[in-house]
């Protein structure tokens, strides 16, 4: 088991390095830097001014060196060209003695040009907000999806199956920006007539989560993911129900309820479990859409702000978090698969 874990973690680290490098590369393209120089300096800078600004701030070093500095494995401190000053860690507190290594690994995530604050702190707060949203989404989505999938797959081809399957197909065909719009029109506008919920979730951050301000965003997000998981569960369940060992159990005289609960369920849940865990890179898209649509200032909203305003450090920070979450869920998915499936249980 330990070798397996070590190998997986090793692969994870390698993946993380590759992904962050790609993000670093894409956020530090020359035009981006030029834009940064102009927004930090002045809009009317000449090309030569831009060049010298970049030099002064250490942006003219080779890409790999800068990546190493950002990561925190290459010393950040170095003399600025053409002057006596040194380029130091921009993320350090004003009074603090700048450390030699000043990268993500040491906890220095950089400085946001939009929020004029340290990236680490900003992301932390927003993640907490998004965590609350995700929690409720999971609470609604996973049990519903599994229930629908199991009920539909239990008796393949039945009327229940047909209607539940159609419902799950319909939800997968409705992206968040469609269902969100529909929900707001129906449940939160004067036109729909039903003013049951609020069309925005902004108040949830300040005055706490309520049924009124959170129902629509949670439902919007849960609905899209639910259909997919439900279809997976249904397919898996339907396959298991035609397996010979289910017939064995039935012809042993096991009650139908027990056939489903004791014999089929565990085998049927192996596939959906992996799917749920691998949904995370995908759920992030939903987070961004829903937070934009419902004006909920969480991680997704932050990502939009960072990307829209060329806030390089913040965007990098967001990417690290996103990549980390994705990789951890993949690891959990692998371990869970081994746990659920005794056939590949590591002895």
């Amino acid at each position: 088991m330990t070798t397996f874990l070590l190998r997986r973690v090793g692969g994870m680290v390698l993946t993380a390095l590759c992904l962050t490098f790609v993000v670093f590369f894409l956020t530090n393209l020359d035009p981006n830097l030029e834009k940064l120089a102009k927004s930090e300096g002045s809009v009317r800078m000449s090309d030569a001014d831009v060049e010298s600004w970049l030099d002064k701030n250490g942006f003219s070093q080779p890409l790999l060196v800068r990546y190493g500095q950002w990561l925190g494995v290459v010393p950040y401190k170095h003399p600025a060209p053409d002057s006596d000053a040194t380029v130091t860690c921009r993320a350090a507190e004003p009074g603090e003695e700048p450390p030699t290594f000043c990268g993500v690994l040491e906890g220095y995530w950089g400085y946001s040009t939009v929020f004029k604050d340290r990236v680490g702190g900003i992301i932390g707060g927003k993640i907490a907000a998004t965590g609350v949203l995700m929690f409720w989404v999971m609470v609604v989505m996973v049990p519903m999806a599994l229930l629908i999938g199991v009920l539909a797959g239990m008796r393949e081809g039945s009327r229940t199956d047909r209607s539940l399957s159609t419902f799950s197909i319909a939800t997968t065909a409705t992206p968040e920006y469609v269902s969100g719009v529909l929900f707001i029109v129906i449940f939160a506008s004067s036109v729909g007539g039903l003013r049951w919920f609020k069309g925005t979730a902004t108040s949830a951050i300040d005055s706490g989560v309520t049924f009124e301000n959170f129902t629509l965003p949670v439902l919007t997000m849960a609905l899209y993911g639910m259909g997919y998981i439900a279809r997976m569960t249904r397919a898996s369940m339907a396959e298991v129900m035609t397996a010979q060992y289910i017939r064995t159990a039935r012809l042993k005289g096991v009650r139908f309820r027990d056939v489903v609960l004791k014999h089929a369920l565990r085998n049927a849940l192996i596939a959906p479990f992996t799917v749920i865990m691998l949904q995370f890179p995908w759920l992030l898209t939903g987070v961004v859409i829903v937070e934009t649509l419902f004006n909920y200032k969480g991680f997704g909203w932050l990502l939009v702000q960072a990307a829209g305003n060329n806030d390089i450090d913040l965007l990098l920070g967001c990417s690290v978090v996103a990549v980390f979450v994705v990789l951890v869920t993949q690891l959990i998915s692998d371990i869970g698969y081994v746990y659920l499936n005794p056939r590949i249980r590591v002895r």
Binding site: T3, R247, T248, A249, L251, K252, V254, R343, I344, V346
Partner: protein
């Protein structure tokens, strides 16, 4: 449910079962009747698709949502099963009627421990507590002769071998002491020697627990060993029923006769008893002919009578419950010998074509995806030496894991040998993989594959597939020439030329296998490796394909390596036999030498394990213990020592220490065994034919 019931356990009266699909009603079982008395074992025999499994599921009242009983009745202990409520049915399933299935691995829940799966039965039906149920499970696992029952109960199905799994399924069926046991091809997925042990166990337990049995099989030999009575089915109908003796020795239906004539018996000489195949194909359920279903394939068919109306079951007077579904049964001369078929003269073997010397093939495998790192060596082939001559058939016999498929792969160049050499016409090909072989070599050694449903690409027409082979082998110069050649090949395998335009799914299994044969002979192959070419086919088709293969091979003086686990067919068609076990050749010799004593102990056991559908044959009873060891972890010394019943005759534990040398017993007859000469001398034949007055 009265415990003191003593009438018939199961009575099936004029049962009709149909499946309802988009295309309408498809009858699967028609007018089927049979009776099973207490303690009696009833065999249901027939080819695939004849409806025998449907009868079993009908008894279980588990026909799925498309299947329905449309007529007749199934009475269990005198009460019609149709009158049972869903809840009552559930109560008798598993407790009164239990079932044993074909694929043991698939019929056990992979995510549940064996113990829980066994304990469930008495806990549901007898209301037992956990502890009591556990004890019962322990008792049953001991009864099916599994070692270390407590450990077995605590393991998952995948941790057991196929034979062990089937024992567990049997234990599970007997947990609640049922009065009727349904066995649906319980040994088809197992190796012959394991099968023999399971059959033994079933017979023994059936007697101990007094359960009646409904034994479904396509293998007449097995039915003979297990059952008291049998019922032969064809295309949804019972065509003949009676006691084993009556049906085997005094058959009164043309299909039963055809069936017996188309299976080779190791007890009989091939010249004295040539194989006679049943012409034609099994009718599809929706294309059954009017009148007698067997009519179009029957030698005694009479137009205007046999195809006029449905044939009822006729009682054969004087016999005990012996019935046949034939209008003409008392007009046919049943003692007449089969019409003489054009016999293929045995070809005189020529020069050595293929010479294999000390061939070794090792694989390196990583032990598990999760442990990584450590690799192990699997010795799939160990010091194989043999030669094959022109126009000769060399049979390679062995069970799973014996290395016969690896040998085929090395010969074909799909794998390269680890050591030793393979000489094809004096040219070493052991280390030349297929892509590096020249066209001539590739065309010279070709293969016929086992699974007819897999051997042709479902996406291309038959003609296109054969044409591609011809293109590849550079046969013919123009497209038109190749097309002509392709049509000739269809003629060669006795298929109509119109088949060139068909897709593989429009062909039956036997026809597909013929295309496979045509493909192998397309480039004038010198050596053809036939890997169990008929084992997946129905009995009545097997004979015809075997015959065809032999004919073409003799005619073209091709060398054939016939890989098989079926000793009967091997005896029938091969000139020489090579027996393999765990990567070693344990015995090699001419067919006569191998099938007569002295034997290698493994050959001896193998011969004893083969079920023979002949009441006149007497076999010595040798049952091997345990399962075939994994090639990943072979035993030290002689590969067969873990199961060898004669190990005691070798002094000093030699078998456990050293791999025996090849001993030459007679000209061309060699075995790999430590047994001293006097033990070998004293061996008696395994199979003996009772001299009867009839012969």
């Amino acid at each position: 449910m009265s415990e003191s019931y003593d009438g018939p356990i199961l009575e099936i009266e004029n049962l009709h079962i149909s499946f309802f699909t988009q295309g309408g009603e498809i009858p699967a079982v028609m007018d089927f009747s049979c009776t099973v008395m207490p303690g009696e074992a009833m065999g249901l025999v027939g080819e695939s698709g004849c409806g025998k499994s449907t009868v079993a599921l009908g008894v279980m009242q588990d026909l799925g949502k498309n299947g329905r009983i449309v007529g007749g009745a199934i009475k269990f202990k005198g009460r019609d099963l149709a009158s049972y409520s869903e809840e009552e049915l559930r109560q008798i399933r598993g407790s009164e009627i239990a079932m044993i299935y074909q694929e043991p691995m698939a019929s056990l829940n992979p995510a549940m421990k064996i113990g829980r799966q066994l304990m469930e039965v008495p806990m549901i039906h007898r209301g037992m507590g956990k502890q009591e149920a556990y004890e019962r499970a322990l008792e049953m696992v001991t009864a099916v002769k599994l070692p270390d029952p407590a450990r077995i109960l605590n393991s998952y199905p995948h941790q057991l071998s196929g034979g062990q799994q089937q024992r567990i399924v049997i234990a599970m069926a007997l947990m609640a002491k049922p009065s009727l046991l349904i066995l649906d091809e319980p040994t088809t997925a197992l190796d012959v020697t394991v099968e023999a042990a399971i059959v033994d166990l079933v017979k023994e337990l059936g007697e101990t627990y007094g359960a009646s049995m409904l034994f479904i099989s396509h293998n007449l030999g097995l039915v003979l060993e297990v059952c008291d009575r049998l019922c032969v089915m064809y295309s949804g109908e019972a065509v003949e029923t009676g006691s084993i003796r009556q049906v085997f020795d005094k058959m009164r239906h043309p299909y039963t006769q055809g069936l017996f004539r188309s299976i080779p018996l190791p007890g009989a000489d091939k010249r004295a008893r040539p194989l006679v195949s049943i012409p034609g194909n099994f009718p599809l359920p929706n294309e059954r002919p009017p009148g007698c279903n067997f009519g179009p394939r029957c030698a005694y068919f009479e137009t205007g009578r046999c195809d006029a109306k449905d044939v009822p079951m006729a009682e054969v007077p004087g016999d005990d419950r012996h019935g046949t579904r034939c209008f003409r049964w008392n007009e046919i001369d049943w003692a007449a010998p089969p019409a003489a078929q054009e016999s293929v003269a045995a070809a005189e073997p020529g020069d050595v074509v293929l010479k294999v010397d000390d061939l070794q093939k090792y694989y390196e495998v990583s032990r598990s995806a999760f442990r990584g790192g450590t690799t192990r060596v699997v010795k799939a082939n160990e010091t194989l030496s043999f030669e094959a001559r022109e126009a000769e058939t060399l049979a390679i016999v062995g069970e799973s894991g014996c290395g016969k498929s690896t040998l085929a792969k090395v010969l074909m160049g799909l794998e390269t040998a680890t050591g030793g050499e393979v000489k094809l016409a004096n040219f070493d090909i052991s280390e030349v993989e297929i892509e590096k072989r020249d066209t001539e070599t590739v065309a010279a050694i070709q293969m016929v594959f086992q699974n007819p449903f897999d051997t042709l690409n479902p996406s291309h027409t038959i003609g296109a597939q054969i044409m591609r082979v011809l293109e590849k082998f550079k046969v013919g110069k123009t497209q038109a020439e190749r097309e002509e050649r392709m049509l000739q090949l269809l003629d060669l395998v006795k298929l109509p030329r119109a088949f060139a335009k068909r897709m593989p799914r429009q062909l039956s299994g036997g026809q597909k296998q013929r295309i496979g044969i045509a493909r192998a002979f397309a480039g004038d192959a010198k050596v053809v490796v036939a890997d169990e070419p008929v084992s997946a086919l129905d009995v009545s088709v097997q004979a015809a394909v075997t015959q065809l293969l032999m004919e073409i091979q003799r005619e073209r003086r091709t060398t054939m390596l016939f890989i098989s686990h079926d000793l009967s067919i091997v005896r029938y068609l091969s000139d020489r036999v090579m027996v393999m076990y765990l990567g070693h050749v344990v015995e090699i010799g001419s067919t006569e030498q191998v099938f007569a004593p002295p034997y290698h102990p493994y050959t001896e056991a193998l011969l004893s394990a083969v079920p023979i559908a002949d009441t006149k044959v007497k076999k010595r009873h040798i049952v091997l213990e345990g399962d075939i060891p994994s090639a990943m972890n072979p035993p030290p010394g002689c590969p067969f020592q873990t199961r060898c019943p004669r190990k005691a005759s070798v002094p000093g534990g030699l078998c456990e220490r050293e791999v025996p040398p090849m001993v030459t017993l007679a000209e061309g007859h060699r075995i790999k065994c430590h047994l001293p000469a006097e033990v070998l001398e004293a061996m008696e034949p395994v199979i003996q034919i009772e001299a009867t007055a009839a012969e």
